[in-house]
Amino acid sequence: MIEALPRLIITGIMTGSIYGLLAMGLTLQYGVCQVLNISHGEFVMLGAMLTWVLSATFGISPLLAVVIIGPLLFVMGFLLQITLFRTLKARTPSPPVFEGSALLIAFGLLYVISFVALINWGGRTYTNTYLTDRVSFLGTSFGLNQIIACVIALAIGVAVYLFLSRTRPGRAIRATAEDPVTAGLMGVNTKMILAFCFGLGALLAGIGGILISWRTPVGTGMGFSNTVIALVVVVLGGLGSVPGSFIAGILIGIVSRLVSGLWEPLLIVPVYYAILMVLLLVKPAGLLGKK
């Protein structure tokens, strides 16, 4: 049991880096656009399923798929923000009402996306693993896909963090998240920023989906569980905090491996929710959240 610990923790970090990627997208969408996107996992599913479609029908490598699927999902998120959520914001009287309505709309989108996918691709799962060679490392072996996915996820996480904290557009995004009205007065095109952030959130979810599809079988029903993971991670890291969500992602990844490795795989999801509920009660602002 104890000898399994290092292996579980390392796989936990690897899985967790992907969770961090998903959560980063969700936290951007909530922190900047005030949309708690319950349909986030469906973008993960789209990323994974499109990777399968591309490699099964066109023979495109799952690594190259990022270049095609990423922009596609970005445009999808971008359009959703400028059509649905921008209009909704103009119609609702107060921010809390907007948050509630946006949550309901996102739930509607969850049904639309997942059932369009189900009608198109059916309910079965597809195996589309990539780079399945094993690499020996610290006395145990890991899948090469797992290691590369982890490296990509970490690289993207760091890149997004640097983009937000060091560049001019990043500063504009943070200003918009802080106070959209004042940011607008200072010459920030807040409408563009909101649309960009929603698109970026969808893009990150899609990349997460691609990385997941390298290792595990994919299907049209995989979206919801990923939404749940992202939601738990985001609350743990603090709603709206980008670095917090990445760190929380890795923590949740470790917890999920430990629970499934040492206790009972069936109880992972209840444990997620238990963490979520306890967190909301004890520290609703999360690890790195403000206030």
Binding site: T92, G100, L103, L104, I105, L281
Partner: protein, 330 residues
Amino acid sequence: MDITRLFTTHRKLLAGGSLLLILIFLATFPLYGNPYYIRLLTTILMYAVLAMSWAMFSGATGYMSLATAAFYGVGIMTRAFLEGTLPFPVIIVIGGLLASALAFLIGLVTLRLRGIYFAIFTFGFVMFIGQTAHYIDANILGNAWGHQIPLMAPGPLLYVMLGLVVVTLLTIYFIRRSRYGLALLSIGGNEEAAEHMGINTTMAKVILFTISAVFMGAAGVIMASAMIHVEAQGAFNVFNSFMPILMAIFGGMGQFYGPVIGAAVFGYLDRMLRVELGQYFMLIFGIILVVVIMFLPNGITGLVTTLRDKLGGVIAKWRKGGQAEQHADT
């Protein structure tokens, strides 16, 4: 008799009369209706209870509860475990009380939180209780294949559900009229101001949340009579949290009968289209949800009010114009 006067001054009489007519129709329907439509009506009434009790809490306080499915599911599971040991009415009461005890606990710990955290918590709670109950039921108690519940004849089932609807309606009516109802309304208007007026807002919200869950739990116990097979994951279906919200918003929460209208429309669509359209039904459900939130935030009843105001303005203008012409003639 002047028709417009009938609609303005005798409004209460009209509302009471139509309510009575609807009740008489529902009460006599099992005598001549076919069983399929009796079941349809029962489903609609069940959704009406869920939508009304959801609107009772969330409409008044502005906190969006996504826990409806949890309370409804508690009712279903109570029935599954107590079936055959106690008489049916006792199980209904127990199911309602268990659901409300749960709501009391949830409310006590969460209703101090901001609205969005409350929504996330309740959403997570449905998943948590569903998964946990499934695990306990299947892996620890050994009921891997779920529970069997004897089907009840459609007629009596309709009467039981109708009774629950009446109780729910009466409760809402009395809460609205009471001092407590006014306190709740002020929370929905401006919580901080209500607090300064000396209202214990957290306690008021917790009590209302507790009361609203009684009906959801009872509805679950009753509706279990129409399911042959019950298992935990199906009982705690998150869809049951969102459907009543859609109904309440579609119908409009400004009037107490708004959620009932929504329940009638979507309960009918749910039963009629779900089997025929299969996967497309859920797709359409998603589209309708988006469209309703975008274009009907005040619901059908709100739309009627808006239209009446607009039309009223046009008619008044037109009348004025007519009068002006008459003056010109004389």
